[in-house]
């Protein structure tokens, strides 16, 4: 089988894993190729609108297990393939050098047995780092059940390691993934989390010691393959963030790739539900919300009409309006129409003067939404109302404005952010002040004796 065909099969098999982030790493280039940035970089967007940052492939889809929801399950009739270590390395290096990708995201089905699979993955990441001096981003999946030592060693070479829980409850796992009890999944997560803590401690004591999985651990939950409610999914995420120090939980709307009586008969993947979970997850991590504030036993699923924050604010109208010029940062964050960036800008701008609604608009606050929840120097906004029905209507219609790009459903709309401090090296360091008029011999720039003493005047431009 040629490389192109294998790549097609093993990319197809990997694409349902949604995590693609290359963030959190800050690896420096040490006389090789590549580095990674804390904020991550997207390199392209696929036809489904998802960001492509890493070369996301399976090492193999020849699985010995038979998880019901999975396209690669052993009883499913799909073309099978496995890469060699050299092939994965060749693809990674050549894609990276052309700036197609930020790095590699390598996962695998269970080939022969968990330890055998893990060993192959270890070989790849070890060679990339040591022989090829590759310092780009690497995320690998730990294979549950693999020898602990293999997972520990692999962790020394990668930026992120993850174990996918996939199904948000014991019951779900029992029915849909009988060979993967939850205990077997939590064990490596526990191990990784302990190792991360241990390596941080070592780093503090011995500055030189290597970092274990410096960009942290993540996992993925499938939404809609089991009857679990949004509340229990969000509670699970909350527990994972606090107990295992997880960096990210990803949510993946279940895409029915196989039919089975044990699976729900979905017509379309529950994308809106997935979107709401991402919004809520964001609120947990950056806005100081708790799962129990957003959902409850009597109200266990998200409102399809309103985003979780607007929904919360509507249920807590008695707390509003708040005065923009004096409210605490934490409270500003809870106002629909004010995001982290605009809350920070408000705090900064408040130091130099009192704010008016006009100022708020310029800062980027969406007044159509926020107008119902804030006052400016005691005054309410022109469209202000404290009537729940009116507020609700305007929150819903404010979102439908065609100008608001955020209203497109899809996970990435939440992650897109621009890091303003990119490319901070001073301009003057290398900016030529004179414009050369003759460019015929520019190629000689690359043929000079490379002893590092090359001067601009040598180049005959």
């Amino acid at each position: 089988m040629d490389l192109n065909e294998k790549l097609g099969i093993l990319a197809d098999a990997a694409k349902y894993d949604v995590s693609c982030s290359s963030s959190g790493g800050t690896r420096k280039n040490k006389n090789g190729v590549g580095d990674s940035h804390a904020c991550g970089i997207c390199h392209t967007w696929a036809d489904d609108g998802r960001c492509v940052s890493l070369l996301k492939i399976l090492l193999s889809n020849e699985c010995i297990y038979d998880c019901v929801y999975c396209i690669n399950r052993s009883s499913n009739d799909v073309p099978r393939a496995s890469f060699t270590a050299e092939e994965v390395i060749e693809l990674t290096m050549n894609f990276y050098r052309r700036n197609y990708i930020e790095g590699l995201f390598l996962s695998s089905a269970v080939l022969k047995n968990p330890s055998h699979t893990m060993e192959l993955m270890l070989e790849i990441v070890k060679k990339l780092r040591t022989q090829h001096k590759f310092f780009g981003y690497i995320h690998i999946k730990a294979i549950p059940g693999a020898d602990e030592r293999l997972i520990n060693e692999a962790g020394m070479y990668v930026d992120r390691m993850s174990v996918n829980i996939e199904l948000p409850s014991d019951k779900g796992l029992e029915v849909l993934a009988p060979q993967k009890p939850k205990k077997a999944l939590l064990k490596p997560m526990h191990q990784i989390s302990n190792k991360i803590i241990e390596s941080k401690e070592n780093k503090r004591l011995f500055k030189k010691s290597e970092s274990f999985v410096p960009a942290g651990q993540s996992t993925q939950l499938i939404v809609g393959a089991t009857p679990d409610k949004d509340l229990s999914i969000l509670k699970l995420s909350e527990a994972l963030y606090s107990n295992f120090n997880l960096k990210r939980v990803y949510y993946s709307a279940f895409v029915p790739t196989v039919t089975d009586p044990r699976l729900p008969a979905l017509i379309k993947p529950p994308l809106l539900r997935e979107h709401r979970l991402y919004q809520a997850d964001w609120l947990l991590r950056f806005y100081g919300f708790e799962a129990d504030e957003l959902l409850s036993k009597t109200n266990p699923n998200f409102n399809p009409e309103l985003d979780p924050k607007a929904d919360w604010a509507l249920r807590n109208l008695h707390l509003f309006p708040i005065e923009v010029n004096s409210a605490e940062y934490e409270m500003l964050l809870r106002v629909p129409g004010i995001g982290v960036k605009s809350a920070q800008r408000i705090i900064a701008a408040r130091r130099v003067g009192r704010l008016t609604f006009d100022n708020l608009k310029r800062i980027g606050v969406v007044l159509k939404r926020a107008g119902h929840f804030v006052t400016c120097q005691g005054k309410t906004y022109e469209s202000y109302s404290s009537n729940e029905a009116i507020v609700k209507d305007s929150l819903i219609s404010a979102k439908l404005q065609p100008k608001s790009k955020k209203s497109v459903a899809g996970q990435m709309s939440l992650f897109s952010f621009v890091n303003d401090s990119e490319a901070d090296e001073s301009l003057s360091e290398f900016l030529l002040t004179e414009s050369p008029s003759n460019s015929r011999q520019w190629l000689s720039y690359f043929n000079q004796p490379q002893d590092g003493r090359l001067l601009l005047s040598d180049i005959h431009l």
């Binding site: 490389l3 192109n4 790549l7 097609g8 990319a11 197809d12 694409k15 349902y16 280039n29 006389n31 090789g32 190729v33 970089i41 997207c42 392209t44 967007w45 696929a46 036809d47 489904d48 609108g49 998802r50 070369l55 050549n94 894609f95 050098r97 052309r98 700036n99 197609y100 930020e102 001096k133 800008r345 900064a348 701008a349 008016t356 100022n359 310029r362 800062i363 990435m412 709309s413 621009v418 303003d420 990119e422 490319a423 090296e425 301009l427 003057s428 290398f430 900016l431 030529l432 002040t433 004179e434 414009s435 460019s439 015929r440 190629l443 720039y445 690359f446 490379q450 601009l456 180049i459």
Partner: protein
């Protein structure tokens, strides 16, 4: 009085210097690339003086802040029409009130500079991902770009760090600027590269592999061209390997 400068950053700063020391009533600063002289305007042509330019840079850095200097630079390289006078007004205000200007995010004079600066920041961030290199004969990785703003000087250092062991060129064919890196030093200047070597014999193989990967990675049930174009506007597609026709 209108000051005419040659379109470069240093010449622009020289013009600012003259504005402060000549005490003339200046109504605008315009690039000679756009300005058409007429009979009514009184104008004066400014020539670059590096010492004066550096003095202005230092003054902004010390009297206002490093953040302001960065915003001014980005706004200038946005090449958006009218930016020179916006920057002049911003600097005037900054010299009066100092670094407090960085917090005045609701003020029009400040936003006139900040908004173009943010656009440049956004495009820089996008281009870090969207630049594609092709391997040429002789082992040079070559990339062609036509960005909206003049961002090559902002993005090149990123590639210098990342691809420090490979020869590369980033070529802005719209502005005829290129940055060249030969694994030791980087050079950035106005130049129109000619005689670009042929593609390396392996190049098309990897382009085909990448296109194939790109095609496969999209989930068919979730096709969403609107979202895709939001993140990756169509005007950038012409230089993207994965968007080139087979």
């Amino acid at each position: 009085m209108i000051y005419i400068y040659d379109g470069t950053w240093d010449c622009f700063l020289t013009a600012i210097h003259h504005y402060y020391y000549d005490k003339q009533d200046v109504s605008n600063i315009e690039s000679s690339l756009c300005y058409k002289p007429n009979l009514i305007d009184e104008y004066r042509t400014i020539t670059t003086d590096i010492i004066k330019a550096k003095a202005v840079e230092e003054a902004i850095l010390h009297k206002i802040s490093a953040e302001s200097l960065e915003n001014i630079q980005r706004c200038f390289f946005s090449e958006i029409e009218g930016r020179e006078i916006w920057i002049l007004k911003y600097i005037r205000m900054g010299f009066k009130i100092g670094s407090r200007i960085d917090s005045m995010l609701g003020d029009k004079t400040v936003l006139d500079v900040l908004i173009p600066a943010r656009k440049v920041g956004l495009e820089c961030h996008r281009m870090l991902g969207l630049i594609r290199f092709e391997l040429l004969e002789g082992g040079i990785y070559y990339s062609k770009i036509q960005p909206d703003h003049n961002i090559i000087s902002f993005i090149s250092p990123h590639f210098k760090n990342r691809f420090s062991d490979q020869n590369w060129i980033i070529h802005d064919t719209k502005r005829k600027i290129a940055s060249l890196y030969n694994t030791k030093k980087m050079l950035l200047s106005y130049m129109d590269l000619s005689n670009i070597p042929e593609l390396h014999s392996d190049e098309l193989k990897f382009q085909a592999l990448w296109k194939n990967y790109y095609k496969h990675i999209a989930i068919k049930n979730r096709i969403n061209p609107k979202l895709q174009k939001n993140f990756m506007p169509k005007r950038y597609w012409k230089n993207l390997t994965e968007k080139k026709p087979d």
